[in-house]
Symmetry: C2
Subunit: 313 residues, 2 copies
C-alpha cells in the first residue's frame, strides 16, 4: 500500500481529510525514528506542517519517500537539496495565502504607526477617562515604503500600500514591471531611500541577516520595520538594541528567530507590535492551503505532475 | 482690542501659536461664565477644541462674538443654528485629517478581522509558547464592505479598501461618481448587501441611531462593524447586546456614546476593538488642523473670507 504520514498539528478538518486519504498522523518529525522500520519503509508521501527542520536525517528514515507536500508557502525548514538528491519532490502552497499575508502586513504597519496596542489598553483600563489622551501617533498615508522582496506577497503588499498614496521602493534581484516604483539593488540602498521597510523575501540561508544593523540604522529613529517573512531575515539582537535605544521608531513582527519562544526582551518592548506568526492564519487561507497540499500529494502519488512543485528531482 | 479665547486642551505647540495671536487660554467652555463680563464683552473669536457642547447659552455669554473656529472636522457639539442666528461664523478643519481617519478605519477592520489584540497578548504573555496557536481569524481581502456616508473620509476609506479587492457598496443621499460601486438608499439596504460596514457619516441629530438594531441584525454573525465617525450614529445598547450574544462577529470603535467614559460592558468585550478617538491623532494631522484653525480665525477677524466655513450668517 501507499502509506502517507501527516506530520504536524493539523486542524480537525485537515486531519480528517488526510485520514480519508489513508494518512497516519504523527505530531512531529522528531517521532519518525520511533516508528517501526517496516512501516517507515512503506511511506511514499509526507504531508508536512510546521516549522521544525526536515532534512537528510529525516528523509533517510523514509527510504521509499517520493513527495514532501508542505502546508505553507515557506519551506526554509525543508532541505530541498537533500530531497532532490534522494529524488523526493517537494511541494508548497503558494498564492492561496498571499492576500492574507499582505493584509496582515498593511494592518501591522497601520496598527504600529497609529498606536493601536496602547490605544486599546487605554480604553479597556479606563485610563482614557482617568488620564486623558495618549501621545500623538504618526501618519501612514504618503510614507515612502520599501518592500524587501517583490515576489507574490511583496507585490500584494505594495499594491495595497499604493492605495494609501505611499511611494513604493523595492529590492529584488531582477527588475519588475511596476507602476513607476523605484528598484534598488541591495537592502541598504533601499533602507536609505525610504521611511518604513516591509520584509517579504523568502527565508533560508541566502536571506539570513539581510536586515542588518546597518540597514536598521539607515531606517533611523523615524522608521518602522515590518516583518511577515521569516525571523531569520532580520538581525534580531540588532533590532532589539535599536528599539530599546530609540534608534528605530518601531517594529511589527509576525515572525521571530526562535518562535514560539520569543526573546523576552522583544516581548517586553512597547515600541514593538508582536503577532504569533498568523500571516496565513485565517479560516479561508488554511482551508485553501490544506486542499492544495492534498492535491499535490495525490497527484504525485498517482504518478501525475505536482500542482505547485518546488524542485524537479 | 480683538480678544480671542482658546477653549480646550491644546498641545504646547498649538497653545503657543494661539497665545502668539493674543488668545487667552480657557480649559473648558464651562469656565466661560466665570470670566468677568467686561472681558467677555470684548471676545470676538473662539478657537474651540474638544467634544463638549457649545450652544446658545455659551454664545450669549460672548455678545461680540464673530467666529467659532473649531479644531476638528466634526462639529455636532456646536449649535450652528444658534450661531447663524447670532451672526457668528463657524469654521472647521476638513480634508487635512481625512487620510488619517481613513487609514485608521482600514487598520481597524484588519486588526479586528485578524485578531491583533489576542495575537499581541499571546506573544507578550508567553501563551504562544505555552498554549500554541490561537483560533483561526478571518480574511479581509475580497469582503463586501458597505461605507455609510461617502463624504471625504468615506471616499478615502473606500479607495483604500478597493486595493484589497473589496466590493464597495455605499449609502449616500446623492449618487456619487464611483468606479462601479453600488449605491443604496438607506442603511438597512446597505447592511443587507454587505459583509462588513464602516460608519463615516457626520454626527448630529440627523444621523442619530442610523445604525439601528435592525441594521446590526442585517450584518449578522459573520459581520464586522467599524465606526470612526461619531458614537451617536450607532445604537450602542443594541451593539453591545449583539456582540455579547454573538449575533455580530465583531466591531471596532474609535468613538462612543459617552466618551471618554466608555460603557464598561463595551470595554470588557473580547470581540470589540476599542480605540480612544484617535482618528486624527497624528503629529501630522494635528499640526495641519491647528494651522487651519488659526487661518480661519485670523481671516474672519481681519474681515476676510474664512478658509473652511460651515455656515453663512
Amino acid at each position: 500500500m501507499t502509506r502517507i504520514l501527516a506530520v504536524g498539528r493539523y486542524s480537525d478538518v485537515d486531519a480528517a481529510a488526510l485520514a480519508a486519504m489513508g494518512a497516519q498522523a504523527l505530531p512531529s518529525a522528531a517521532a519518525l525514528a520511533a516508528l517501526p522500520a517496516a512501516l517507515r519503509a512503506e511511506v511514499h508521501g509526507v504531508a508536512f506542517m510546521g516549522h521544525e527542520s526536515f532534512g537528510a536525517a529525516e528523509m533517510d528514515l523514509l527510504p521509499a519517500l517520493r513527495v514532501i507536500a508542505n502546508f505553507g508557502v515557506g519551506y526554509d525548514n525543508i532541505d530541498v537539496g537533500a530531497a532532490t538528491a534522494r529524488k523526493v519532490l517537494v511541494t508548497n502552497t503558494p498564492e492561496v495565502l498571499s492576500d492574507d499575508v499582505a493584509d496582515l502586513a498593511v494592518g501591522m504597519l497601520i496598527a504600529q504607526s497609529r498606536g493601536f496596542e496602547a490605544g486599546i489598553a487605554s480604553v479597556r483600563s479606563g485610563d482614557w477617562q482617568r488620564r486623558g489622551p495618549l501621545p500623538l501617533a504618526r501618519r501612514v498615508t504618503g510614507r515612502r515604503v520599501g518592500i524587501l522582496g517583490l515576489g507574490r506577497i511583496g507585490r500584494e503588499i505594495a499594491d495595497r500600500l499604493a492605495g494609501f498614496r505611499c511611494q513604493i521602493h523595492y529590492c529584488a534581484r531582477t527588475p519588475r514591471q511596476t507602476p513607476g516604483w523605484t528598484r534598488h539593488g541591495d537592502p541598504l540602498s533601499l533602507a536609505r531611500a525610504v521611511d518604513d521597510l516591509v520584509v517579504a523575501v523568502v527565508g533560508g540561508e541566502e536571506t539570513r541577516g539581510l536586515v542588518s544593523a546597518e540597514v536598521i540604522a539607515a531606517l533611523g529613529p523615524d522608521g518602522v520595520l515590518v516583518n511577515i517573512a521569516r525571523g531569520s531575515v532580520v538581525d534580531e539582537p540588532a533590532l532589539i538594541a535599536a528599539l530599546e535605544q530609540g534608534r528605530l521608531r518601531g517594529a511589527a513582527l509576525d515572525v521571530f528567530w526562535n518562535e514560539p519562544a520569543v526573546d523576552p526582551r522583544l516581548a517586553a518592548l512597547p515600541n514593538l507590535l508582536p503577532l504569533p506568526h498568523v500571516g496565513s492564519a485565517t479560516v479561508e487561507s488554511r482551508a485553501a492551503m490544506g486542499e492544495l497540499q492534498r492535491r499535490n500529494l495525490s497527484a504525485v502519488l498517482a504518478g501525475q505532475a505536482a500542482v505547485t512543485p518546488i524542485n524537479a528531482p
